[in-house]
């Protein structure tokens, strides 16, 4: 059996983390290749439903990353996002959706090595947690059950 390779979706801000991830590459820092990056104009623009949709479509883990506090290109998008994450995280925790599978981080355009670090550690965490079968079971309900 081949080793489990986590599928991870990263929702990142265009102004910081996206550039930071670019820097990771141009600096030739090696890091795990499990992440698919989706670029957003701001973390404030990342709808919580997108995170759920990722799990629904088979993601094992999620990274959400944006500008450090006070560095938002739009002044306060990341502050609003942070409040939303706090509430969303609490709700997910209550519902038993494993919050360890979602890593939030602040990565600036200059932090290429931090991005590599975030990705590597998230991949390790998810590797330990294993594939997200509980959610997959719920999401794949229609395909499994011939007809309920």
């Amino acid at each position: 059996m081949t080793e489990f390779e986590p599928k991870i979706i990263a929702f990142v801000c265009n102004w910081c983390t996206y550039a930071g991830a670019d820097l990771t590459g141009t600096s030739r820092i090696k890091y795990a290749q499990n992440v698919k990056i989706i670029r957003f104009p701001c973390t404030g623009r990342i709808d919580f439903m997108l995170l759920l949709k990722s799990f629904g479509e088979g993601a094992d883990g999620i990274i959400v990353s944006g500008c450090h506090p006070n560095d938002c290109h739009y002044t306060s998008g990341n502050f609003h996002a942070r409040r939303r994450w706090i509430m969303f995280r609490g709700l997910l925790d209550m519902l038993g959706i494993d919050v360890r599978r979602i890593q939030y981080s602040w990565v600036s355009a200059a932090e290429g090595s931090k991005w590599a670090d975030i990705v590597n550690s998230t991949v390790n965490t998810i590797r330990e947690l294993g594939p997200y079968t509980e959610y997959e079971k719920v999401a794949g309900y229609l395909e499994k059950e011939a007809n309920q």
Binding site: M49, L52, N70, F79, I86, L91, D93, M94, L95, G96
Partner: protein, 266 residues
């Protein structure tokens, strides 16, 4: 409650309002919302412990707005909703007359939304112990077990959206679940569709919910969806101090502090 009847009749008589939204006798031992537009109909107004439906839901309904300016019978849960609607600029002071009712079943007048806030400051939302215990017990479950618990609890949901219909704060003219470009939430009521709907509903009430339990009371299948909003109220308190509507404060998710806690962010 003859005083209530008198007051309501006087309001209609003087044409200060065109309709009185209150409680009347329902089927068997139930009570129901009634809409008195004639003085004589005020005789049907009652108030007692069975009157639990949150009437504030009617303040934003198109069909009721058409009747004209309302007076509304408002026990504490309704007052909380009215204040939250005011915070969200859905109603103005001049839009309605409030026939407040204290927990001791006494009539109380409110001159302004601010006076409602003052009154409510001595009637704060408190999550009953039986609920905090249940929430704690759920949160103490191992994560996979907790997930299984909720999937099972939400299983009977057939998406009649009574929870949405009964909630005074679900006043959007077109709910996000009724939009399909994009289709955020599956129309189907299978486990994923149900889970996503209840997460969406709870999130849209995050920091807004006034804990009236109208959603739970409305659910024909008895699903404890109020546990989700109650748990979120606790989260609001734990992270941002207090909960409950306040005219001086923006909604939790419409505002922020630069030093909001962020222990989980790297």
């Amino acid at each position: 409650m003859s005083e209530l009847v008198k007051k309501a009749a006087a309001l209609l008589e003087s044409k200060l309002v065109q309709v009185v939204i209150g409680y009347g006798k329902g089927t068997g031992n139930r009570t129901r919302a009634i809409f008195a537009t004639q003085v004589a109909e005020c005789e049907n107004l009652i108030f007692d412990s069975r009157c639990v439906q949150n009437l504030a839901v009617y303040l934003t309904k198109l069909e009721i707005k058409k009747l004209g300016k309302p007076a509304i019978v408002a026990p504490v849960p309704v007052l909380r909703s009215i204040l939250q609607l005011a915070v969200e600029n859905q109603i103005a002071e001049s839009d309605l007359v409030i026939l407040g009712i204290t927990p001791e079943s006494e009539l109380i007048d409110f001159e302004s939304f601010a006076s409602i806030e003052t009154f409510l400051s001595t009637h704060k939302i408190e999550i009953e112990e039986k609920y905090t215990k249940t929430i704690d017990a759920i949160k103490a479950m191992p994560v996979a077990e907790r997930f299984a618990y909720w999937v099972k609890e939400l299983e009977p949901c057939f998406k009649c959206y009574a929870c949405r219909g009964a909630c005074p704060l679900c006043y959007c003219t077109r709910c996000t679940v009724d939009d399909n470009q994009p289709q955020w939430i599956s129309v189907a009521s299978h486990p994923l569709g149900n889970l996503e709907w209840h997460i969406m509903r709870a999130m849209h009430l995050a920091g807004r919910c006034t804990d009236c339990e109208a959603c739970y009371n409305a659910c024909p299948m008895g699903i404890p969806i109020h546990l989700l909003t109650k748990s979120m109220l606790q989260d609001v308190a734990d992270n941002f101090g207090s909960y409950g509507p306040s005219l001086d404060k923006q909604n939790t998710l419409s505002s922020f502090k630069p030093d909001d806690k962020e222990s989980f962010i790297r």
